[in-house]
């Protein structure tokens, strides 16, 4: 793992309390050479030349011009999709879980604000909807740079509670966002997978490009518990006294089946899907987003 990634690790990020700062930290760090994205510069349409200044990335030098004119000019790009992006952030009680540096909610909020920052930096409109069993907060689509604050603010005040009802949320989003755009769902998806896929299918049928960031804690993925444990449901009244190790194998099998169902369902509905652990570096979501944008560019 390169040193640059170290700064994008949750342990490092969680020191930044404010979401906007955190997002800026992540995005700038991601964009400013800490991470060599193969997609950078290629996912954005060429806008104009400017004269080369020392320190510019040599990849952006237009060598054709140099060949013709023997002068060094740097290309400047511009995104040409101009798709509004709506971030759907799950703030249900299940997102509260997390024994690592960041809870799922913290991680999801950080990813959402980072994406918003990146999108606004690219002068696209972005909005945010936080939800649990119902929509908790809605931030409309705006293009201004200062919109990031509103988004960060809406997520900061949202404390995870209540259960998730993704189908009704996705249906509602579809109704309130008729214009084609991009919808990014950031959630742990701990709900009925059929309802989820139905909602995603609905959005796809409406013409939206949908991305799903499936945020799960390492504990939920690894189930590393041992010793007598009492599990108490975050969103349900269920509780269970057990020896976790005795249940681990079948728990993981059930989880795997669930993930496969979701993964397959997303693939069938051409929904981009990424499973992210809360211990993963936060550039994963950004890279995934940018990759999706490139794909959209090529499709278009």
């Amino acid at each position: 793992m390169s040193d640059s990634k170290r700064f994008l690790h949750p342990e490092a990020v969680q020191r930044i309390a404010r979401l906007e700062l955190r997002a800026r930290y992540i995005v700038e760090g991601f964009l400013s050479g800490m991470h060599r994205s193969p997609y950078f510069g290629q996912s954005i349409e060429f806008r104009q030349h400017r004269q080369y200044a020392p320190g510019d990335d040599l990849r952006h030098v237009d060598w054709k011009v140099w060949a013709k004119q023997d002068r060094y000019y740097v290309k400047q790009f511009e995104e040409d999709t101009n798709l509004p992006c709506t971030l759907l952030v799950d703030v249900s009680e299940s997102m509260q879980y997390g024994r690592g540096p960041l809870s799922k909610y913290d991680y999801a909020a950080t990813v959402a604000v980072s994406l918003a920052y990146l999108i606004l930096r690219q002068q696209d409109a972005v909005g945010c909807v936080s939800f649990d069993s119902a929509v908790r907060n809605t931030v409309p689509l705006r293009r201004r740079h200062t919109h990031i604050h509103a988004i960060a603010q809406s997520l900061a005040v949202s404390e995870p509670q209540s259960k998730t009802d993704l189908l009704s949320i996705l249906r509602g989003v579809g109704e309130t966002h008729p214009r084609r755009g991009m919808i990014v769902l950031v959630s742990d998806l701990l709900t009925d997978p059929e309802a989820l896929l139905k909602g995603l299918r609905m959005l796809r049928q409406q013409g939206h490009d949908v991305m799903v960031f499936h945020i799960l804690d390492d504990d939920e993925l690894d189930f590393p518990f041992s010793g007598p444990t009492r599990f108490e449901g975050l969103e349900t009244a269920d509780n269970l006294n057990c020896n976790p190790r005795a249940l681990r194998a079948r728990y993981l099998a059930a989880l795997q089946r669930f993930l496969e169902t979701v993964r397959r369902g997303c693939a069938e509905n051409t929904v981009d899907y990424a499973l992210i652990r809360t211990r993963d570096p936060l550039d994963a979501a950004l890279a995934s987003y940018l990759s999706n944008r490139l794909g959209m560019h090529h499709r278009n």
């Binding site: 007598p228 449901g233 079948r250 993964r263």
Partner: protein, 755 residues
């Protein structure tokens, strides 16, 4: 019992520890607020029962493991089997040792008695090493049967006292007696008893022959009585298997004239106590002639040396059967003579020899009372005379002799053609027959039926076998070849005389006249009367009656060839000789006694010294013992009784006669019957005989060898115990692993990154 009892204090705690930990864990569980409950509950629902089962098993395994470790460290002690018999402070070991003849059985350089001795030695050594006080009493079967108190009672068994040990072992020796276990078992309470604080252990050390255990009920009762008194009963078998055996079961003179210088026919009997036929069994015979006079100075009648007789060979003796053969021996002088028979050595030597003493008088006196003195009838009865040595001395006399002289010295009295007897004569004759004498009446012209009916027959109560009516003539058609006389050929008088299909003697006898009995007379069933000869199957001719200890024969025709032609027939003399043999040999006193039976010698009359010197055989030398005769209350006769008859052989009794001469009498004492059958009870048969009695059965081999095994065995130090503990621990680990209490494998669900 445990080596370290104190550790057991921790046992309940250690057993409860896993349970306690489990309960504590239930209270100390960590709480996790969990989002993915659905998957957890799904897993729990599928695994619930199986997980619970494994956890219970695991809990039990942990309890078992801790308990096993504590037990192992505590050192459980297993008392070795025999040590349980030696536990309890004061232990009284009563050894009931079988010393009957069958215990002499030997095989492979050992014997049943050797095994018994080994058992006793082993018990002594073990007791001497064991803590506590151990006493021993030894009871021999033969002593118990004879009512003799044991010599060794409550002897302390201690180490370092070899003489004491040897004195105990010296008591274990075989005898030649027959003795079963019943009296020995009963003697434990009768003669030994139980003292306060004693733990009683009774050992029945025997060969357990089937014959001795045939009547199991009284044995069971005796053993049950012991067990009811908290006695531990141990049975120890001293033989390893049942073996076959041959035994000489009889040597005796056959029926016949026992007189000096008369060929004596004797029988020897051999019994095959095995499961296979025995062939070519040879019996070696010897005779030993003693001086006729019993005035030998030495008194012990130094043997003049045995003389070998021709041996007898039994071609085949079937299993379980006896066979007899005859041999002839002749002793020229009157007196007590010995016959000795011997077999080749087999498993049991004691019954391979047998002794017989034959008491031969110079002659056998016989009285012929002639009712018509000088008649030919009496003369004919004296045949054959001295030309042929018969051993019979005949005395002719008149009827008054019956009254005037004692009749006891005569072996038989013949009354020929006697008309009547006076009361004294009748009484003397009647008493004579009653006391065992034999009387023969020959009828004739003088016979008076009224006298016979009144005095001799007396309505069936007298000595005469039947009433008489009158003289009668046998009217027959002589063309009819049916013999006049029919005899009971099985009777000794006629058996050899008229035996053989070609024997024409009987058919040659013609009878013209006879004394007839009433036509309706038939011999009664309870009168001891039987008809030995009939005339043409109808009228009785010779009738026999058992009267008291004697017998009376009535011949209803003349001895002389007056009413018949029998005397002219050679068979008459032979028949009369056979009759004399039959009548004189009926009450020959038995000269054989069994080992263990007291030997009683009656002193014939006053004047004999009361002290009688007995000489009895012993293994190496004869033993002399003087016994004073006591007057018996029953009959007033003096008798000297030798009670110690432990060895088979010839016993002598030297009596001092009034004239100071020594009269020596000989007696043969042989091993008793019943000990020769060596068939022993198998272990299963012995268990069956014991029934539900809680008695242990051991083999003598279990008591052999030095006492090396420890009294107690520390189970915790045994490799197999540790192996069990280790197996429990490994099992616990396996269960713990199976119940997922060990570190889980990494089964991480990988995060799928965006392509």
């Amino acid at each position: 019992m445990f080596l370290h009892d104190g550790l057991l204090f921790w046992l309940p705690l250690m057993i409860g520890l896993p349970v306690l930990i489990h309960l504590i864990n239930l209270l100390r569980h960590q709480r996790v607020r969990w989002a993915a409950m659905e998957f957890l509950l799904e897993s729990q629902k599928k695994n619930q029962n199986w997980i619970r089962f494994k956890e219970i098993l695991l809990l039990l395994a942990r309890v078992a493991a801790l308990a096993a470790i504590v037990l192992m460290l505590a050192g459980p002690l297993l008392q070795m089997h025999f040590s349980r018999l030696f536990a309890g402070g004061l232990v009284h070991h009563v050894l009931l040792v079988d010393d009957s003849l069958s215990m002499s059985e030997h095989w492979d350089h050992t014997s049943a008695t050797d095994n018994a001795r080994g058992v006793v030695a082993h018990l002594y050594d073990r007791a001497a090493q064991h803590p506590g006080t151990h006493l021993v009493t030894l009871v021999r079967f033969s002593d118990a049967a004879a009512g003799v108190s044991p010599e060794i009672v409550r002897l302390p068994m201690q180490a370092g006292m070899p003489q004491q040990r040897e004195s105990l072992l010296a008591q274990v020796r075989p005898s030649q007696r027959a003795a079963g276990p019943l009296r020995a078992l009963q003697s434990v309470e009768e003669k030994i008893g139980r003292r306060e604080g004693e733990n009683l252990v009774v050992y029945l050390i025997s060969d357990f022959r089937a014959d001795s255990w045939r009547e199991t009920k009284p044995l069971q009762e005796a053993m049950r009585a012991l067990i009811a008194q908290q006695t531990k009963l141990q049975l120890v078998r001293c033989t390893d298997q049942s073996r076959g055996n041959l035994a000489i079961t009889d040597v005796a003179p056959a029926a016949g004239i026992l007189a000096a210088d008369v060929p004596l026919k004797c029988d020897v009997e051999v019994t095959n106590y095995s499961s296979i036929p025995q062939r070519k069994v040879q019996v070696f015979l010897e005779s030993q002639t003693q001086a006729a006079e019993d005035t030998k100075q030495a008194g012990d009648a130094a043997p003049s040396g045995r003389q070998a007789l021709p041996s007898v060979t039994f071609e085949r003796i079937e299993p379980g059967q006896s066979a007899r053969q005859s041999f002839s021996v002749r002793f020229p002088t009157p007196g007590d003579h010995e016959i000795y028979a011997r077999l080749e050595t087999d498993a049991l030597a004691g019954d391979n020899q047998r002794f017989c003493v034959v008491k031969l008088p110079a002659e056998i006196p016989l009285l012929i009372v002639d009712g018509q003195p000088g008649s030919i009838d009496a003369q004919l009865l004296t045949l054959p005379r001295q030309r042929v040595r018969t051993g019979i001395k005949t005395e002719l006399a008149g009827v008054s002799y019956l009254r005037e002289q004692p009749l006891d010295k005569f072996a038989a009295v013949f009354l020929v053609n006697v008309g009547s007897l006076d009361a004294g004569e009748t009484a003397a004759l009647t008493q004579y027959v009653k006391n065992g004498g034999s009387a023969v009446f020959f009828a004739g012209e003088s016979t008076r039926p009224d006298f016979v009916a009144q005095s001799l027959y007396d309505n069936g109560q007298g000595i005469f076998p039947l009433p008489l009516v009158s003289q009668a003539s046998l009217i027959v058609d002589r063309l009819d070849k049916t013999p006049d006389v029919e005899v009971e050929l099985a009777h000794p008088i006629f058996q050899r005389t008229f035996a053989g299909r070609r024997n024409s003697f009987l058919s040659a006898i013609l009878v013209d006249r006879y004394w007839a009995a009433p036509k309706d007379w038939q011999p009664g069933k309870n009168e001891g009367v039987r008809v030995l000869a009939r005339l043409r199957g109808e009228a009785p001719l010779i009738v026999e009656k058992q009267f008291g200890k004697g017998v009376c024969l009535a011949v209803l025709t003349t001895a002389a060839p007056v009413w018949n032609n029998w005397a002219a027939n050679p068979s008459f003399v032979i028949a009369m000789m056979e009759a004399k043999v039959y009548l004189t040999s009926r009450h020959q006193p038995s000269s054989s006694r069994s080992v263990g039976e007291p030997l009683a010698v009656a002193l014939p009359e006053e004047g004999y010294a009361a002290e009688v010197e007995f000489v009895r055989p012993a293994q190496k030398a004869q033993v002399r013992e003087t016994v004073t005769a006591d007057k018996q209350a029953s009959d007033g006769q003096r008798r000297a009784v030798l009670s110690k008859t432990d060895e088979s052989g010839i016993y002598l009794a030297n009596l001092k006669r009034p004239d100071a001469a020594t009269e020596t009498r000989r007696f043969a004492i042989n091993v008793p019957g019943g000990e020769s059958n060596l068939a022993a009870l198998s272990t299963s048969e012995l268990q069956t005989a014991l029934g539900d009695l809680p008695a242990d059965v051991h083999e003598a081999a279990a008591f052999s060898g030095p006492v090396a095994e420890p009294a107690e065995l520390n189970l915790g130090a045994q490799w197999w115990f540790m192996a069990i503990v280790l197996a429990i621990l490994l099992g616990e680990q396996f269960l713990a692993y199976s119940a997922s209490y060990h570190l889980a494998q990494t089964g991480v669900v990988p995060a799928r990154r965006a392509a």
